[in-house]
């Protein structure tokens, strides 16, 4: 069984919603669409208060190389353009829309017919993906068209599709592979064409046997796409870990996957690419898992971007009485939400509701130097040392100990028997060390 080699953990999987088909969430009455939904520069709002918009209409334009268009996910009236607290907890600009009907922009193919033939050429594909606001749906929301433009002097050999879904609880990618597998695979073909590669791998953890079987069957009729079953181990879906597992190459410290001839995209992204290129449909909705041990109806919902989290929770049976924490994403890397009005964005893979007693951290004890954090770190770092250096503000030394390699997977903190908040210190240290490095560059 293929896997990454260094470190890793195996938390309880708790895939409560794995057998729940994707349901279309009814349209909400209001949406709040943040205008910076991708890594890079925020997009520029091009609608005004009072404007009437259609579903799929561009409402914010990406103006720099690393930025992306944002489209209206509903039809209705723009009521205001104001700051809203988003998933990160920061206040950022968003377009507020009151929903009226569901009138779509012209030119978007909404028929269920699957279009197999890829007619656009490479440049047209990249342009289309950019135009349709497709970003990485695995969580990092890196604009997809940028990944497709291979820098001078580098060559893409392989496309790796991330269907690992190693986070406990989450099942949105799993359901998507099962129910939209055929379209997703066409998306993979499109990405292969855009990159000019002849080989693609779809990495899937072995706990999703049905998805492995289903996609293997689809791919057996095509050439150049191979499904790779992977060992169930967190963080198998980390970009660098996935590359190591699938083609046994290590992305060097501080470098991108293209350094080893790879481009990695999530399965959700591949589907979005299919819809953008074949159906002319912008990225305005995504599959979101709503789950938790005490959630009445754990479900997988197809949700319009901008829908408030509370709408999703209501659909899944309402906020349980014992709810103590609401998380956007999975339990390992997700962010705890400060409010239930926060909207679903392109990077929202799941909403996880934790029980009250599971929500609070235990008090941290003294480190007993058991070295479990070192043995589980998938990057081969020493979290205990890096946390100490951060705590003591020794960032120069932290840089030498490779703090910037940390992928923030949280395995160290998860596994610490003394309950020390290692990742908190590592994040702080990465932030400060990053500032240090950037300032050095300026001199």
């Amino acid at each position: 069984m293929k896997t990454f080699k260094i470190g890793g953990i195996h938390p309880e999987e708790n895939k409560l919603s794995a057998d729940k088909p994707i349901e279309v969430l009814p349209l909400p009455s209001k949406v709040y669409i943040p205008v910076s939904q991708s890594l890079g520069a925020p997009s520029k709002v091009i609608v005004e208060k009072g404007a009437v918009v259609k579903t799929g209409q561009v409402i914010a334009k990406g103006e720099s190389f690393i930025s992306s268009n944002v489209h209206s996910s509903v039809s209705g009236t723009v009521t205001k353009i104001d700051d809203i607290t988003d998933t990160s907890g920061y206040r950022r600009k968003a377009v507020f829309i009151d929903v009226a009907g569901d009138e779509w922009e012209d030119g978007i193919d909404r028929t269920p017919e699957i279009k197999h033939e890829i007619t656009l050429d490479r440049d047209e594909i990249v342009r289309k993906i950019n135009e349709m606001g497709v970003v990485g749906l695995g969580g990092a929301t890196f604009p997809s068209h940028v990944k497709l433009m291979v820098p001078e002097g580098r060559k893409a050999e392989y496309l790796i599709i991330n269907g690992v879904e190693c986070e406990p609880y989450l099942t949105s990618d799993h359901r998507l592979m099962l129910e939209r597998g055929e379209e997703m695979v066409i998306g993979v073909k499109i990405l292969m064409k855009a990159l000019g590669v002849s080989k693609a791998f779809i990495g899937i953890e072995k706990n999703k046997k049905d998805a492995i079987v289903h996609l293997s069957m689809i791919c057996s009729k095509l050439s150049g796409i191979e499904v790779v079953p992977l060992k169930v181990k967190y963080p198998q879906g980390g970009e660098k870990q996935l590359i190591k597992a699938v083609i046994n190459r290590e992305v060097p410290s501080g470098k991108l996957p293209i350094e080893v001839g790879c481009v990695v995209n999530n399965v959700g992204t591949a589907l979005a690419v299919y819809e953008a290129v074949q159906k002319n449909k912008p990225l305005i909705e995504r599959v979101v898992t709503v789950t938790g041990k005490t959630v009445q109806k754990p479900s997988n919902l197809l949700v319009r971007i901008g829908t408030p989290v509370s709408t999703l929770i209501d659909h899944a049976g309402g906020l349980p009485e014992d709810a103590g924490k609401v998380i956007s994403g999975g339990p390992m890397m997700g962010k705890a939400l400060t409010s239930l009005d926060i909207p679903v964005v392109k990077g929202t893979s799941g909403i996880l509701i934790m029980k009250g007693e599971e929500s609070k951290r235990a008090a941290a004890l003294n480190c007993i130097r058991c070295a479990r954090c070192i043995s589980v770190c998938p990057m081969g770092l020493e979290p205990v040392l890096l946390a100490q250096l951060s705590e003591n503000q020794l960032f120069e030394r932290a840089e030498k100990e490779r703090i910037m390699d940390c992928i923030e997977c949280g395995s160290c903190h998860y596994t610490c028997p003394a309950g020390r908040p290692l990742l908190d210190y590592l994040r702080l240290g990465k932030n400060k060390t990053g500032i240090l490095i950037r300032n050095r560059g300026k001199k």
């Binding site: 260094i6 309880e12 060097p252 709810a323 599971e358 004890l365 007993i368 998938p378 990057m379 205990v384």
Partner: protein, 335 residues
């Protein structure tokens, strides 16, 4: 509605805790406790109880009245130290010497450095070595194994330890073969099962191995330190034995006799005082193995495990600095 908690990821946590690790070690010591009570009778139970109680009391007193902070004696670490200290002394040790040992172990070797996790040296070993140097007579008067309901052990009836007999014999100019043929010598089987003189917990290799297996299965310890320690001790003593079998005993005796098994599995693997990376742990184990044999063969004391581990404890910060884990993406070997 309840207020929601907001905290950084990760939001789930392993079940393993400091407590579960410490009590896991206690469980692993149960076979050796049984063997000690079987061979030394209720005296062994007396020593273990006094030692554990004294360690807990010292820690509680210091945390409550000196530091005036939270009391954490339930975390199990003082219990582990207490049992280990008892394992390292003869079964007939007077109670007040045990209490002094507990004060040194917990008070000086552990709490003065900041408590659990902060001590550079293994507390139980510091306690043992302190007692060995301060009370050499009491600490080396090994009671003869009597059995659970045997008559009261007195200081007058003392039995030989394997390593003690060896050292004396060699110092008197006898060859290894002559010593091993003498009736005083306990022999391999007794070393393995525990029918020999010695500290409470060290007499039975089998009981200690059982406990070690438990700790390995529960992932409380890893194989690195024990394998490196035993490996280097066997190889080094094996070389000496091959060079001159009349002056040096075979490696099996070194493995089974004295505190080797106890030290290797229960004290060298103490996570607080051993290196943190696999490579560092191997270096630590090899160093401790070499030092143990050197002290046993050429040192003034017949036994060298305690000193060897304490000396290697001192090197731990250096070892941690010198042996880093293999970083991801460092050695780029592609293909």
């Amino acid at each position: 509605m309840n207020l929601l908690t907001v905290s950084g990821s990760p939001h789930i946590h392993t079940q393993q805790s400091v407590k579960s690790i410490m009590y896991g070690v206690v469980i692993a010591m149960i076979p050796a406790i049984f063997v000690s009570v079987y061979f030394f009778g209720l005296d062994a139970a007396r020593v273990i109880l006094i030692s554990v109680a004294a360690c807990l009391l010292v820690e509680w007193t210091i945390q409550k009245y000196l530091l005036k902070g939270p009391v954490s004696i339930t975390d199990g670490s003082a219990v582990v130290t207490g049992i280990l200290l008892a394992f390292n002394v003869p079964a007939n040790l007077p109670w007040w010497i045990l209490v002094i040992g507990a004060i040194v172990s917990i008070g000086i070797a552990k709490m003065s450095f900041g408590g659990l996790g902060k001590n550079p040296f293994n507390p139980a070993l510091i306690g043992r070595v302190f007692l060995l140097i301060s009370f050499p007579v009491q600490m080396t008067s090994w009671p003869v194994p009597k059995g659970l309901f045997g008559s009261q052990i007195t200081d007058a009836i003392t039995g030989p330890t394997t390593l003690g007999v060896l050292k004396e014999g060699l110092d008197a100019g006898k060859t290894v073969q002559e010593i091993m043929a003498s009736p005083e010598f306990p022999g391999y089987l007794n070393d393995l099962l525990g029918a020999q003189g010695g500290s409470l917990g060290e007499i039975s290799a089998i009981a200690l191995l059982l406990g070690a297996a438990y700790m390995l299965i529960r992932k409380i310890i890893t194989w690195h330190i024990p394998v490196a320690y035993l490996g280097s001790a066997v190889i080094f003593s094996g070389i000496l034995w091959l060079v001159d079998p009349t002056r040096f005993v075979d490696p099996a005796i070194h493995l089974l006799a004295g505190g080797m098994m106890l030290g290797v599995f229960f004290m060298a693997t103490d996570m607080v005082t051993s290196p943190m990376t696999p490579m560092g742990q191997i270096v630590f184990g090899v160093g401790a193995g070499l030092l143990t044999i050197m002290i046993r063969v050429w040192g003034a004391y017949p036994e060298g495990v305690s000193f060897a581990i304490l000396i290697m404890n001192a090197f731990v910060p250096l070892i941690n600095n010198a042996f880093k884990p293999k970083r991801f993406g460092e050695v780029v070997k592609n293909g």
